[in-house]
Amino acid sequence: MKNTLKVERAKLNMTQQDLADKVGVSRQTINSIESEKYVPSTLLAIKISEIFKTTVNDIFRLQKGD
């Protein structure tokens, strides 16, 4: 699953730790999502999209084979 988390974060000038604190996970989890090693749960994806005031589909996109 592709995501634009890094871009969205950069737009708001937010660090991984800032985002992690806001959604209640560790910085490592945010890093793993950005590097596409970990696919977040629906709940976490919604929390992240709410932080960036956008929809889940705008941040997370399915890839071929997903």
């Binding site: 992690a20 209640g24 996970v25 560790s26 490592q28 989890t29 890093n31 793993s32 090693k37 970990y38 977040p40 749960s41 709940l43 976490l44 929390k47």
Partner: protein, 138 residues
């Protein structure tokens, strides 16, 4: 927004138990080493007692490390724990199957597998798997 899904926060002990667990492991190791290296003449009952003490100390220490909470116990950690647990279960089954054959090759005759030995192997397997996942995700 608090949800009970994906958090798996139950059945975890305080993070300080990790240090306590390591302390117990070191203590058990030191006891075992001192007894082994000092060549003290022990009676069979004393020998058995110290063996149980060292083994149980090791198991308890590893259990504390395995059950202790992380600084942030989130859904990725819960997923890693689950993956480590399921893989350890499979390895434990394979260990029980393969162990008698290893005995036949290296230590004839075949010895009974002790529960403590299996639990120790499972805890080691779980922690190795969990921490290798954790550090590869850093």
């Amino acid at each position: 927004m608090e949800s009970k899904t994906n958090n798996n926060k139950g059945k975890r002990i305080h993070k300080h138990f990790k240090k306590m667990g390591i302390g117990i492991i070191v203590l058990a190791l030191l006891t075992g080493l001192i007894i082994k290296l000092s060549h003290i003449e022990l009676m069979p009952t004393q020998k058995a007692f110290f063996k149980v003490f060292v083994m149980n100390g090791f198991i308890l220490g590893l259990l504390f490390v395995a059950l202790a909470k992380e600084k942030v116990e989130d859904e990725m950690i819960a997923q890693m724990r689950l993956k480590a647990m399921s893989q350890t279960f499979i390895w434990a089954v394979l260990y029980v199957i393969i162990r008698p054959f290893m005995d036949l090759v290296f230590r004839d005759p075949v010895q009974d597998l002790m529960g403590q030995e299996l639990v120790l192997a499972m805890l080691f397997g779980y922690l190795l798997n969990y921490y290798s996942q954790k550090f590869s995700n850093k």
